[in-house]
């Protein structure tokens, strides 16, 4: 698939992990790095900027979650980042047909590390009731997924529970584990690959969101 990254095995992660402590003999981390991990993870999980990839019914429930009654701002997530370059967590809400598959993959690749993915709803997770010629049977065939939310569509409470699960997962991450955050190497053989010089060419004279400035001399 062109992806060589992993984001860990969510099933193996205990939901409630005790705080890292220096007395843990199995841990190779020092007291300083484990405390630093805790600080970084606390900061990351407390203000995740979601990238709502809303396609269908689940997007309406996502809007309900963000609106006044359920108030996503309680999780530090009220800043919906519609630009993938400034987002932390991709919330795929709704069914993903084949025609949309390259789009969601490109959006995932445009997000900077560290990044997480919530697959909201039955259609995004498994294809749901759309077992036919047009719909991708689960977005995990395209991009890695951290949390699956069941429901058709999930209630806002279910989405908030998924967000809290993701927080717990983030809090167990270690900076020393480099495999978690290996950057994706662009697959130059892929049809989606665009040569950087071509990007410059397309984006002249305004620059683009990759470089933010004019890159070619």
């Amino acid at each position: 698939m062109g992806l060589i990254t992993t984001t860990g095995d969510s099933s193996a992660t205990p939901l409630r992990t005790p705080l890292p402590s220096s007395s843990d003999a199995s841990s190779q981390d020092s007291w300083v790095t484990s405390r630093l991990d805790f600080l970084v993870n606390w900061a990351r999980s407390s203000s995740m900027w979601p990238m709502p990839f809303g396609t269908a019914c689940c997007a309406i429930e996502f809007m309900a979650t963000a609106a006044s009654r359920y108030d996503l701002a309680r999780f530090g997530m009220e800043r919906l980042s519609f630009s993938p370059r400034q987002a932390d967590v991709l919330i795929c809400a709704g069914r993903v047909p084949f025609k949309l598959a390259p789009v969601i993959r490109r959006i995932y690749q445009q997000m900077p590390q560290p990044k997480w993915v919530i697959s909201m709803g039955a259609c995004a997770s498994t294809g749901g009731m759309f077992d036919n010629y047009a719909v991708v049977q689960g977005i995990d065939t395209i991009i890695p997924v951290d949390v699956y939310v069941p429901g058709c569509p999930p209630r806002p409470e279910a989405l908030m529970y998924a967000i809290m699960m993701l927080h717990r997962k983030v809090q167990t991450e270690r900076m020393s584990d480099t495999s978690l955050r290996r950057e994706i190497e662009p697959d130059t053989n892929s049809h989606l690959y665009i040569d950087p010089s071509r990007i410059d060419e397309l984006s002249e004279p305004f620059g683009n969101s990759v470089h933010q400035t004019r890159s070619a001399p």
Binding site: M1, K99, P102, Y133, H191
Partner: protein
């Protein structure tokens, strides 16, 4: 704060019906399966186009007229322009393929007369083996543009005279055929992995160039090689296992 609206302008729905003194429309009740009052436009069509009207019937209160494929454009133009009928609103263009392969594939036009508050269904039967081609009515109704493109995409019916007959729902290089045909399996012809790899290789920036954008309005001005390429993307080589009709249609 309440908002007031000025009186209606023309064309006012129901105006012709009121002028003719016909009763107000009401919710239909106990509609018979067959029979009932036929749409008065049908007898006018029989008079005007005696050879083109094949048959007509009233089913569940809706009148259906079967016409020949050569005359369908003239008939719809007549129905739209004649003030005694004034079918000025195109509801839908679609097609029906029956499970029984011997039955003809039907192309359906749903027309509506706003002034007369009437509804008429026009059908053309395309016998098995016949070319899947009907005239386009985009010159009569601008709204037919996308509806006919969708019908082409889903059934492979060519609308002759359509200015921009491309796929609309599936991507341009979709290779599996026309999904709503009965010989098309529910889960597609290819395996899931093949479908996904083909989908991921869609060139999503293919429509960024000026030339691609010009297709809609200036297809004929394009160089010959680009026309060829676009035709390939439209019809495309037929995948394995397509029906003889689809093969024939692909060669056209």
């Amino acid at each position: 704060m309440s908002t007031s609206f000025p009186p209606y302008k023309s064309p006012m729905p129901g105006s012709a019906r009121e002028a003719a003194g016909l009763p107000e429309p009401s919710t239909p009740r106990n509609v018979p399966h067959h029979g009932g009052a036929e749409n008065p436009s049908v007898s006018a069509l029989r008079e005007r186009f005696p050879e083109a009207v094949v048959r007509s019937h009233v089913m569940w209160g809706e009148t259906t007229v079967f016409v020949t494929v050569d005359a369908v454009h003239a008939i719809i133009r007549f129905l739209r322009d004649d003030t005694a009928h004034a079918y000025n609103y195109l509801v839908d263009v679609t097609a029906v393929e029956y499970r029984d392969g011997d039955q003809p594939l039907e192309v359906v036009w749903h027309l509506r007369s706003l002034p007369w508050q009437r509804f008429l269904r026009i059908k053309v039967a395309l016998e098995p083996g016949a070319a899947l081609e009907v005239p386009s009515i985009t010159d009569l109704y601008a709204g037919a543009d996308w509806i006919e493109r969708e019908c082409y995409d889903m059934f492979g019916i060519t609308f002759a005279g359509h200015p921009d007959l491309r796929r609309i729902l599936m991507w341009d290089t979709y290779r599996e055929g026309h999904p709503l045909r009965k010989d098309f399996p529910l889960r597609g012809r290819f395996s899931r992995a093949e479908q996904l790899s083909q989908a991921l290789s869609i060139d999503s920036s293919g429509n960024y160039t000026m030339n691609e954008l010009s297709i809609a309005e200036a297809f004929n001005d394009l160089p010959e090689d680009m026309k060829q390429r676009l035709r390939g993307a439209l019809g495309g080589p037929s995948p394995e296992g397509t029906s003889p009709e689809a093969d024939k249609e692909g060669k056209q």
